[in-house]
Structure formats: C-alpha cells, structure tokens
Amino acid sequence: MNLLWLRVALALYSLGLLHAVLTVFRRRQRLFRIALGAISLGVVFHLVALVEDGLALGHFPVTSLQEAASLFAFLIACAFLLVYWRYQFHSISVFIFPLVFVLTLTAAMDRSTHYWELPLLRTAWLYLHVSLIILGYTAFFLTFVAGVMYLIQERELKSKKPRAFYYRLPPLDTIDDLAYKSLAVGFPFITLGIITGAFWANAVWGPSWPIDPKISWSFVTWLIYLLLLFTRWTAGWRGRKAAYFAIAGFAATLVTWGTNSGLHSFVSP
C-alpha cells in the first residue's frame, strides 16, 4: 500500500494544526494565508491518496478502520474549507484540526490487515452504508463543534467580560446558522445510511438479522437528531438549548460508533 500522498497531506495538515494552536494565542496572524494554502493542497493530495487507495484495492476504500479514518479526515478538512468559504471565519480550526490530524495520522500508519474479509458481507450496500454514515458523521461533527462554540460565545456575551474567545469566535447568529445547516445536511445522510444498512443486512441475512447493540444505539442517536431538527423547525428552538442537544446527539453518535470499536458485532473478527 502506497501511503506517500497521504503522508504529504498529513504534513500539510500539520500546518493547519499549527494555525489552530496559534489562534488560541494570537488574534491575527500572517500564518493563516499559508495555512489555508497548505490545507487546500493537503485536501488535494488526500483526494489523490484516496483514489489511489481505491484503485489498488479495487473498491471504494471504506472497508477498514484506517480507510474509514482517512475518508472521515478528508471530509472534515473539506468541511473546514467550505465553512471558511461560506462564513469567512477560521477560528473553527481550533476544534477541527486536532481531529483531522489524528485521523490522518492513524490512516497514514502502516496498514494492518483488512477486517472485513468475510466475502458474505461484501456487497455494494456495504460501501454505500459506510460512506453515507461517514458523511453524516462529518456534518454532525460540525453541528457539535458549532454547539460548543455557541456555548462559549454565549457565555462570553452573558458574562459581559470579554476574554480571548470573544474576540476570536464568530457572531452567535453565524454559529447558530452553521449548527442548523450542518444538522439539516447530516440528517438525511444518516437516515439514508441507516436505511442502506438495513438493506445490506437484509441482503446478507434475509429477514432475521443478528441482534447488535450498535443498531439499537444508532436508533437512539437518530431519534435525538430527529427531535432536534423537529423542535428547531416548529418550536423555534435555537441557541443554548439547541447547542446542548447537538452535543448530546454527538455524544450518542460517539457511543454508537464506539460500540464494538467501530464495527458491528457480527463483523468483528
């Protein structure tokens, strides 16, 4: 497995990480222009790495934890660029780049053997299921980060004693908008991800699936997000309440993911 391009991307992302760290200490920096260039270039190299991976494996590279981490990191880095392009603020890198870096680092380590060698499970549904879920996770991660940023900025404003973050974080309304939009994007992905998961299970086992705690958790998570989206639409839930809910939702997402460390119980070795 050739990991060269992925490692180049990792090196470029490390500039993004440096920018994230410096953001905490300094308000404006010349480094940002360089970091932005490095991140954009990193994303391009990352894409090359993903395509190369896919060609070498002969399928969409989402069938091992490392491959999934790589895709997830790629999508989050893209999300950063998208947020910057849409809202013109970059302090979100403080929350994003540590994760992008760790995920890419994990992916760029020497690859272990594949987990999912069970030919039984290798259907097109698998690729679709995992990709959709990762897309959904990316969006929900943004919702979560926006929730955290909202709570920090709201506290700064309510306390009336502006400190470092007050100056660096964007306006509340911008954060809330980001939270809402990322939620609205993430929800259909997760829903489709769950549906394709059901089709996948159906294709493999027929009507009687194995019992799996991950499936139960994923329904809990889905319900939380459904509720959040619904109350935002109808009851005008926003601000702090919505932020707490987004954080709870992401915690549930983590539990769902963490159950059987990323895999369903029936595919674990």
């Binding site: 308000r27 404003l157 964007p170 306006p171 509340l172 309304d173 005008g236 309440k241």
Partner: protein
C-alpha cells in the same frame, strides 16, 4: 545617514504646553523652509497635531549639534525660552528616530491606541513637506516606508480592531450577536443624546429601521425625523418591542419599564429570535434579571464600560506585537538605506566591472599564446583604461546627483542597470 527627531507629545507635555508649541497649518511651509535653511540640514519633515509636534530631519553630519539646533528653532519660532520648553521635549537619533516615526504613524504612540486619524495626519504633513521641497532623500524613504509599516501593523495586529467608545461597543456587541445588522430593527425608548449616538452607529452599520418612543411625543417626533425613523406612542411600546431586535432604553423612569416577564413574552412572540437590550439609563429601566433568559442579552452602562476596558487591554496586548514589527521594520529599512548609499555603490560598480574585465582576459588568455611581460602589461593597461573611461562619467554623476533630491532613485537605478547585488 544622520536622522534626528525632536518633539513633544501628550506623553511628555500637558495641553497648555502643546498648544503653545504647535505649528499651525498655514505656517507649516514656512517653518519647513526655515529648518531646511539651518546649517547642515538636508531634509525636514514637521508633524504638528493637537497631541504632538515632531521635527524630523536628516543632516549631512551630526556631532550632536542637530538636536539643540532644532530645539532652538522651536523656542525661537514660538518666542519661548529654551529652558522653558526643554523639559517637555524628547530627542531621538538614527534608528530610534525612525522607530519613533513608525510608532507614531502606526498609532502605537497615540492617546487612544490604534486610532485611525494619525496616519492621515502624517500623510498630510508629508504632502506639505514634499510640496515645499524639503524632502527627496533618505528621509522621504523613511516616511513613505512608515505608511506601509503603519498599514501592516494595523492589519496584522488587533490594535485597531475592537471598539473603545461606549456607543461603538454597543454596535460591536450587536454584531457579535446578530452577525450582520442588515434587516434588524432598533427601538429607542427615551430620546437621550447617548441613545441617539448609538442609534446612528447602528444605522450606519446596516440596521434597517428605527422606532422612537418617548414620554413626550414631540421629542420622539423630533428624533425620529432626525434618524429617519418612526415615532410611536409610549403606550404602544410593547406592540413594537416584539418586532425589534435591538432595544435601547434611556428614560428617566424611576422603576423598571421592562420586566423579566415582558422579556419572556417578547421572546415567545418571536420564536426565540435573539434580542439585544441596551440600558443606558440610571436608574436602570430594564430588570437585570432579564439577562438570564436564553437568547436575550442585556447590557447596562457599566457592562458597556467593562467591554470598553477589556477592548483597551486587548489593544494593548496587540500593541506589543506591533512594537516588535516596528523594530523589525526599522532594521529592514536601515539595511536597505545602507545599500542606497553612494560610496558603497561606486565601489560595487568598480569591482563589478573589474571582475568582468578579469574574467574576459582569463577566458581569452590561452588563445593569445606566449606573451612577453611587456605585452602582458599592455593588455592590462588597455583593458583597465577602457573600464575606467566607461565608469568615469557614471561615477561623476552618481557623486553629484546623489546629493540632490531624488538621489536615492538614481543610486537605485544605477544598481539595477549594472545588476549590483544588494
């Protein structure tokens, strides 16, 4: 290069002294000419604002006499005794003088750190000096560099970023809550001077409409007219409060006009879209408890003052970075000015051409075969003579032109034409 700067500012002199030593705009040209005529002075720049007077010169040589000469000039033009004004003056030489003018232009030395007017004043003073013809050499280079340095410090640090007046602080807070103020409605309760100012700033920043209400309808009418807003009756207050995103209250009422319950009702009526209350009345008009409601933010006059104080501190922190930049820029400029000196340029030019001469001889030496020592000498003399004749006129011109205004440009052009390295 001998730079010398003599001046006084709000840091060294009280306003009574500053006003006595200021140089009025219409006298500036004359003052520039007078200083330029003083012995040894090549270039002059004078900056006189309400907060400072600075006389910045470049002299042919400086054995420590330029500073006193400038001080005497200042005393003489204002008919003061030397001893009377010296305690208020500061004096900087060379790199310290350059750094000082960089700091002044970047507003690092201003009373309100980061205020934007000073750069404009420096530019205007530069224009006068330029028009009067007292610039044209290294000092001009220093000044035009100071504009770029000031711009760099303003954009790359936060010294000018956050509001340091109450009414601007209110606008900035509104922006931190709403992002853009586009399409936001403002309601003024009470028609005080301060709320008028805040409302003007809000409108300027994009707020779309203003309602004004007051106990006396005439005053409300008046202010509404001024702000191109709409006056409403005091009893209708709550009908309009729900449509307003920003509410500024400044009435003389002795009790709370808006209570927590009102806040809750207003929010429910607008689906929790955020509201920003500014209470600049004393005694306060809005129940402070209201700030505990979600999506509602209340700032009273003290809170705004705290924000202003915090912003000042933030500017001071950012200023440290600015000071560092100013120091670096001075070193950069000094290095550059050094290469633009005439003498090193002449030496560079000679050695450059001599280098070419020697390379060419070395290249062709083998073609010439055996030569007698006399022939060798003849070749040396021939080539050297050519080089000397070629550089003779450029060197003469360099020596003469460099003394005149725009001399730096000539030196720079020569360096570029002959590709002399910096």
């Amino acid at each position: 290069m001998n730079f010398c700067l003599v001046g006084l500012s709000h840091k060294t002199a009280p306003v009574e002294v500053r006003e006595r030593l200021a140089i009025a705009d219409e006298e500036l040209s004359g003052a520039l000419r007078t200083v330029a005529a003083l012995p040894g002075i090549c270039e002059v720049f004078i900056l006189s604002t309400c907060n400072r007077v600075e006389i910045f010169t470049r002299a042919e040589s400086d054995g420590g006499e330029v500073g006193p000469i400038l001080t005497q000039f200042l005393a003489r033009t204002h008919h003061r005794d030397l001893s009377e004004i010296t305690p208020y003056l500061y004096q900087y030489q060379q790199r310290d003088a350059i750094r000082h003018i960089f700091r002044v232009a970047a507003s690092l030395d201003s009373m309100v750190l980061g205020e934007p007017q000073i750069l404009g004043q420096v530019k205007a003073a530069y224009a006068v000096a330029h028009a009067t013809g007292t610039l044209g050499g290294a000092l001009e280079e220093v000044l035009s560099r100071s504009f770029a340095v000031a711009k760099r410090i303003r954009t790359e640090t936060g010294i000018a970023a956050s509001a340091v007046s109450i009414s601007y602080a209110a606008v900035e807070l509104a922006k931190k809550i709403f992002g853009s103020l586009e399409g936001k409605n403002v309601l003024l309760i009470g028609a005080g001077k301060m709320s008028e100012l805040a409302a003007k700033h809000l409108l300027h920043s994009g707020a779309s409409s203003i309602f004004v209400t007051n106990r006396s309808p005439e005053r409300a009418q008046e202010l509404a007219l001024l702000l191109k807003g709409r006056a409403i009756r005091f009893e209708q207050l709550f009908d309009y409060a729900g449509q307003s995103d920003i509410i500024i209250s400044s009435t003389g009422a002795p009790h709370y006009i808006i209570k927590k319950e009102d806040g809750r009702r207003l929010l429910a009526g607008r689906k929790n879209r955020p509201m920003f209350f500014i209470d600049i009345a004393v005694p306060r008009n809005i129940d402070p408890e209201i700030n505990k409601l979600d999506n509602l933010f209340l700032y009273d006059i003290d809170d705004l003052q705290h924000v202003v104080d915090a912003n000042r501190k933030e500017r001071m922190r950012e200023a440290q970075q600015g000071e560092e930049m100013a120091r670096q820029e001075v070193e950069k400029l000094l290095r550059r000015l050094k290469t633009l000196d005439v003498v090193p340029t002449i030496i560079d030019l000679q050695s450059h051409l001599d280098e070419i001469r020697r390379q060419e001889i070395a290249r062709l030496r083998s073609e010439l075969g055996d030569l007698t020592p006399r022939q060798e000498e003849a070749i040396e003399a021939l080539t050297k003579g050519m080089v000397n004749k070629i550089v003779h006129s450029p060197i003469n011109h360099l020596k003469n032109l460099a003394q005149q205004s725009d001399g730096l440009k000539v030196v720079e052009t020569v360096r570029r034409i002959f590709n002399l390295k910096d």
